[in-house]
Amino acid sequence: MINSTFKISGRQVTKLVLYGLPTVGLYALLYAFEDSLLALIAQGGWLFVVPVAIAFVISFVHGGFTAQFWDILGIKAKK
């Protein structure tokens, strides 16, 4: 494609959905188990792994979603 226009491919949409749905799911879980999670994390000690693990998982899934989001809008890095 020599001109600067861009097209949204089916693969891009699939990737967006593949990252988007788990992101929504993870945030829904966070909302649903808000009280239990806060109570668990407030105990501290070795339970420090809980917020760290949540942060890693959400950063991976939501990070993939946000990358696809800008990509599908045609906002891509200049090579």
Binding site: E34, G45, F48, P51, V52, S59, K76, A77, K78, K79
Partner: protein, 648 residues
């Protein structure tokens, strides 16, 4: 809702507020490596979150954000992971020491004393460093060097020249060996500042740039690695005490990951000076914000007369507004730079396309048929997938075919593995139709440029095998492809079609990054003295004569090489330069010292080369995965076209 102690109820307005501030903070962090999070702690406190929980939740969103930003910018080749980790470890020590000092000040002088200490640290550090950064930008701008390459500072040149045995480490961003005795204090100071004012990057990024000599783009990207290490350590410390409000952290993260991706993309469109403008502006405005509050703390410590409560409230509100303005100003500069950069880039691409399609219609007479396959350019196979990554490949294939009088065969591969076809038949038809449409437009372009061209849609389960087979069938001399730029772990796990074609192709492969253009300004040919290097040199000679282009011959030596090996490299360069001169090519030689891929790319950049020519050892499969390939790393790092020469 009943939540545990220290954790507040959240309203929709609170969530929206955190998402927006998180987005803007992420945008700035993605761009300058840090500095986007300082507003979040006061923002959360203004919602009623206790100070210590606000700090803990802020740091818990910072490390995953920095991780995503670092991975994104590593894709653009801007991150020096080794330097980031070395500095990150010493920064952890700085964080612990900084927190210890903070606790000591608080014990001795109370909250007001602690606040005064933090504000004074802001004013002194940001005044000195922020002022220097802005002065440097102004000096460069006034000297009319805004577009010039960044120069390494005199201090950094001295730091890089100091040799302390047993402490020297090579860092790719510096392209030099530096003693860790210099990196440790820088990391330590970054950590101390992070523990004091929550933004270590205000020391880290300028120190990486001005003291160690990293380009400002790499300095800001490498700071994200330091921020990740520090953030992870800080999160563990606070989470151990049960102080992290995971809801706050993840809501901010939701906004900031959108921002950090956009900020990282923005860095690829701007001149390095813009990073300094954003950083300097934010630093000076934050300084003003903190300075406004200093009289309040001085009055609380009875150092000056007590202030009227209304005045205290006014100063605190004013300080917070200036803090928000600092972040908003940074974000506005990033947005403006991104907007201008994307617009200019799209215009460049459109102009390049117009240039190709407006070429004269006459077809150049085919080059004389050669008996040797080396340097023969008569039949090109262009592999396109219809994406923007293939745009450069078609453009340069047309340009080169005109110059060489070659014929083009343009192929587009549509995936048809059994599972794919069975489940998404209609989608396959749609893809086939799109491929035919795309090839029709390619044919039109070739006809307009006066280049003989035929097209074919290939259906195959493995695109690389299909391309290699098509090249064999068509007896092609050259395969022309785009580059996806996949690196690191992704390359190991997923492979890359271009890399696999290079490994198996029966002929030379021209790899064209999306925006690269080959006008024949300067060529760089890399040789290691082997027959693969000789094949590259012969091909370089043929092309240099065709284009009338000067050539730089480069052979890289590494720290592990013996004196004998270094002498061999010099001999290989001398031999190749002599050969090229016999062919009436203007040629010079260089024997740089460092990592081969980095030195080859650097030589190309320094000579403004638009083509790098390399031989291929042709490793495929597990051997390529285990050993890697200098050729592949050069292809991933350079912005120039790369010709991979396959010797028989």
């Amino acid at each position: 809702m009943e939540t545990a102690v220290n954790f507040i109820d959240l309203t929709v307005l609170d969530v929206t507020y955190l998402l927006v501030v998180g987005f803007i903070g992420g945008l700035v962090s993605g761009f300058i490596g840090s500095g986007g999070a300082f507003v979040l702690t006061p923002a959360m406190m203004s919602m009623g979150v206790p100070g210590i929980v606000a700090v803990a939740s802020n740091i818990c969103h910072k490390f995953p954000k920095a991780l995503v930003g670092a991975i994104k910018r590593a894709k653009y080749g801007q991150v020096d992971v080794k330097l980031g980790l070395v500095l990150g470890v010493s920064a952890e020590a700085g964080v612990l020491y900084g927190a210890h000092i903070q606790e000591g000040v608080k014990r001795s002088f109370g909250d007001a004393g602690s606040n005064l200490y933090v504000s004074l640290a802001f004013v002194v550090v940001l005044g000195l460093v922020g002022g220097y950064v802005l002065w440097d930008v102004w000096k460069t701008h006034r000297g009319g060097q805004g577009d010039a390459e960044e120069k390494t500072s005199r201090l950094a040149r001295w730091v890089q020249s100091v040799e302390i045995p047993g402490t020297m480490v090579y860092f790719k961003s510096l392209n030099a060996r530096v003693s860790v005795l210099f990196t440790i204090p820088i990391g330590f100071a970054t950590g101390m500042l992070a523990a004091t004012i929550a933004v270590g990057g205000f020391i880290g990024v300028p120190a990486l740039h001005y003291v160690l000599g990293a380009p400002s783009l790499m300095a800001s990207a490498t700071e994200l690695v330091i921020a990740f290490v520090m953030g992870l350590g800080g999160t563990i410390k606070f989470a151990w005490s049960g102080l992290v409000d995971i809801r706050l952290a993840m809501i901010i993260l939701a906004g900031s990951l959108f921002g950090i991706q956009l900020g990282a993309i923005g860095t690829t469109y701007v001149k390095p000076g813009v990073i300094k403008v954003v950083m300097g502006t934010i630093m000076v405005l934050v300084l003003v914000s903190r300075a406004i509050e200093i009289p309040v703390y001085l009055a609380q410590l009875d150092i000056i007369q007590p202030l009227d409560p209304h005045l205290v409230a006014l100063l605190k509100n004013l300080s917070f507004v200036v803090l928000i303005a600092a972040l908003a100003s940074g974000a506005a500069i990033v947005f403006a730079a991104l907007w201008r950069g994307v617009g200019a880039h799209r215009r460049e691409l459109a102009a390049a396309a117009a240039q190709v399609t407006s070429m004269p219609a006459a077809v150049v007479a085919p080059a004389q048929t050669q008996l040797s396959p080396l340097g023969r350019f008569e039949r090109f196979l262009v592999a396109t997938d219809g994406s923007e990554y293939s745009a450069g490949a078609m453009r340069e294939a047309l340009r080169m075919a005109k110059r060489c009088g070659a014929r083009l065969r343009v192929v587009s591969v549509v995936s048809t593995d059994v599972e794919h076809e069975a489940t998404v038949g209609p989608l396959l038809k749609q893809e086939l139709s799109a491929a035919h449409d795309h090839l029709a437009s390619m044919l039109e372009q070739a006809n307009a440029a006066g280049v003989a061209c035929e097209t074919e849609v290939l259906q195959a389960s493995s695109p690389d095998e299909a391309i290699v087979h098509a090249a064999e069938q068509a007896k092609s001399d050259l395969v022309v492809m785009g580059r996806r730029g996949r690196r690191g772990l992704a390359r190991l796990m997923l492979g890359d079609i271009t890399a696999r074609v290079i490994g198996s192709a029966p002929c030379n492969v021209l790899v064209v990054p999306r925006a690269a253009e080959m006008h024949g300004k300067h060529f760089v040919v890399a040789t290691d003295g082997s027959r693969f290097g000789d094949a590259a040199a012969v091909t370089a000679g043929k092309l240099a004569v065709l284009f009338g282009t000067p050539v730089t011959v480069v052979s890289v030596t590494q720290p592990s090489h013996s004196a004998e090996r270094r002498a061999e490299a010099q001999q290989a360069v001398n031999r190749t330069v002599s050969f090229l001169k016999q062919e009436d090519v203007t040629a010079t030689g260089e024997v740089p010292h460092g990592r081969p891929d980095e030195m080859i790319v650097l030589t190309a950049t320094q000579n403004d080369a638009d083509l790098i020519i390399m031989g291929s050892h042709g490793r495929t499969g597990i051997e390529r995965v285990l050993l890697g390939s200098t050729t592949e790393r050069v292809i991933n790092q350079t912005a120039s076209v790369v010709l991979v020469v396959k010797s028989a």
